[in-house]
Symmetry: C2
Subunit: 158 residues, 2 copies
């Protein structure tokens, strides 16, 4: 599936995904730690240290998936898949800004619902280009589903 | 509806909306003029000079609407409305990056469909906080509907 020639593109795709994904967390982290700590937590809320490694892993998978689609896609299938990928990323960034930056639980819930729908659409579009790329997004969809449920519980409890 | 006390907040909201809205166009403008000029144009495509004043006007209305919601909203209604507003803005920015930056017509179509749905949701949420704020977004929805149709025609013709 990969050859040595893939390395530069793969590395670039992963780096961009990690950077774009981490940026809003870095912007909002300072102010939010204290606010988030004051919330009533659902019993199943993971400890805070879990989120960093999970997101780093997911952004890595997203980078690999995006690279495969850009490499193997042709014409409109590729364009559609990549457009959806960028759109879901934009909502991922928006979610962090709204939830942590805006300390806005109800707004976060609205954003993550849109994000979830766009991830499903992205997976569908990816699967038409490269099956592996689609599968690489499944853990991401699972985590965002869990995060949406978590967001809902924070909404209910606070 | 407005008093002198509203001026600083109103000015800030409008400035942020204009800046966030214009940023992706500035980033992508240089490379895209030539690509966009090569496309087969639908008969009803407006001349290029139309877009600048239209978007500037719309971002102004968005800024005023967002200010009204932040000023008059309370609790979760305000949070939900503002979260949706940020999310639709993120997709607005994503559309410009995908369509002009990525020279990606099919992807743009996917993004603008999501944008359209989020604007409708934002208007619904705004209307529960401030009726004027919701009405201020109607020209924006109308223009994005037109832009979506335009995007579709570019998709069909190119």
């Amino acid at each position: 599936m990969f050859s040595r020639d893939d390395l530069p593109g793969l590395a670039l795709a992963v780096l961009v995904c990690e950077a774009v994904g981490a940026a809003p967390a870095l912007v909002t982290a300072t102010g939010s730690g204290s606010w988030y700590a004051t919330l009533v937590r659902p019993a199943f809320a993971p400890p805070n240290w879990v989120f960093g490694p999970v997101w780093t892993t997911l952004f890595f998978l997203l980078g690999v998936a995006a690279y495969l689609v850009l490499r193997d896609g042709r014409g409109r299938e590729r364009e559609l898949a990549f457009g959806l990928f960028v759109a879901q990323y934009a909502l991922n960034v928006a979610w962090t800004l709204v939830f942590f930056g805006g300390e806005n639980i109800a707004g976060g819930l609205a954003v993550i619902a849109g994000l979830w729908a766009l991830i499903v659409a992205t997976i569908a579009a990816f699967s038409r280009v490269n099956r592996t790329a689609a599968i690489l997004l499944v853990p991401y969809l699972a985590w965002v589903s869990f995060a949406a449920f978590l967001n809902y519980e924070f909404y209910r409890l606070n």
